[in-house]
Symmetry: C2
Subunit: 260 residues, 2 copies
DNA sequence: TATCATTTGTTCGTATGTATC
DNA sequence: CGATACATACGAACAAATGAT
């Protein structure tokens, strides 16, 4: 039994803990109002900064959301979420992805590959290659959920498949078709992570708080398992979930992809 | 052009923004020390609470981590992460999942189905059914990353397949085998989300901060697309990523699974 | 329409505790 | 031991959004 912390937890943590447990236990219904900061001050005999810190904890835990001038409200635990299917449909030699409503016309820029993309596209670390980068912004018409999609096409791939260089902002489905046209046999792998959004991501995704965003990197591999293009999708985890269909593979743990 | 916000952003946000951009631009190397709160107070002519708020933003964004008495340090952006393959291997009639090192002997409890699980397992909302719940805790021996896995087996499924009720804490691979033995033809679908950990999750996953955790719900479907069991996996997104292999489907967007 | 009380958001000041070097 | 640095906590004031009067 190694050194447990004897000193009691900070007050704001204790308060946050009690409120969190009460919420999880259903003592506050979804959508109902949390006690105001003034009320918390009274019931727990604490100062306002402490009360604020406690509520702040609940906010970063995603349990409540606060509204200026109104109060803090319990988030519904199972809110209606946009389900984003991460599947690919096949019809003959054409591969299509589930459609998403495009909000703006995509913008194409020429960039140096960042570390993450360079690693996924198996580019040499130093002297990272140039690439086309296309930013799409989609919106779910039902829920208003925004989804950002960035498509990365390395220059060397664009050289081999000139159609890509002409319309790097085409639909992903069409990009796949161009690669097939160029004689590639396509396979896909996707890596999923999550993090708290950066300030500019909050703006583009229309987020009001710092709750986590889901990020997926989908890499398209061509002949000889050569990585061709990378799609990076970002969306608020509280608004949308990803859905995968898992198909059993015959090969025994093919390409486990050694650690970074 | 509707009302853009003219009022400048809060000071602490502006400071956090500038620091965040500097970090992203590589002006602070990974592992290097951020200016101390006192320095921030001087350079930006702000008070201590404001400086603290700015650093706090960077902390919840996962860009820095603070150490009592030492300072705040820039997190390495591309830390070595455990890659968790979410694939299923097939060998004859046996389906196996990639192995994870078990840390503790799993504990089995009997529970009422929670809303999320009930929804995924398509149980009636009211009078939610009972279920076996098994908690596994795994650790990546290389990185020390902890992974929590919970397996949910509804009672009605356990009744139909008595082997499940006997050893609900068996390896998932064996659970699949029991279902196949009972005559089921298995398919899988997985839903991925993310959120900030609750206090107790921080303890079980050994987290020091409030950075996001990845959560996946894998549902195993049997004959007639009947949902049988649900696996819930949780791990820190900063420590581990999920890897999927995407196999094109012939059917056109089969079962889009209407929104919640 | 205007006013007012309530509530959260931001910012300052100050003090003390505690870990690190 | 002392200097530095972050963590916690209190008090105070004003701003801004909201909803009711």
């Amino acid at each position: 039994m190694p050194g447990e912390i004897i000193r009691p937890n900070p007050i704001y943590m204790q308060v946050a803990d009690q409120l969190a447990q009460a919420i999880k236990a259903g003592e506050y219904e979804a959508g109902s109002k949390l006690p105001s900061e003034t009320e918390l001050m009274a019931t727990y005999k604490i100062s306002r900064p402490t009360a604020r810190s406690a509520v702040n904890e609940l906010r970063t835990m995603g349990l409540v959301e606060s509204h200026h001038g109104r109060g803090s409200f319990v988030r519904s635990q199972a809110a209606a979420k946009t389900l984003i299917p991460r599947t690919i449909d096949r019809s003959g030699q054409r591969y299509s992805v589930p459609e998403l409503r495009e909000t703006e016309t995509p913008g194409v820029t020429r960039i140096h590959l960042l570390d993450v993309h360079a690693h996924l596209l198996e580019q040499p670390e130093q002297d990272a290659a140039d690439a086309f980068s296309t930013d799409h912004l989609m919106t779910d018409p039902d829920t208003g959920t925004r989804i950002a999609l960035r498509v990365i096409i390395p220059m060397d791939v664009a050289s081999d498949v000139p159609a890509l260089a002409e319309t790097p902002d085409a639909d992903v489905t069409d990009l796949y078709a161009m690669l097939v046209e160029a004689g590639h046999k396509l396979t896909w792998r996707e890596v999923v992570t999550a993090r708290t959004p950066l300030p500019d991501e909050r703006v583009t995704l229309g987020l009001t708080d710092a709750s986590p965003i889901l990020i997926t990197y989908r890499v398209t591999y061509g002949t000889d398992d050569r990585p061709l293009i990378c799609e990076e999708l970002r969306t608020a985890a509280a608004m949308a979930n990803l859905v995968y269909r898992i198909t059993p593979e015959r090969a025994p743990a093919k390409r486990p992809r050694a650690k970074n």
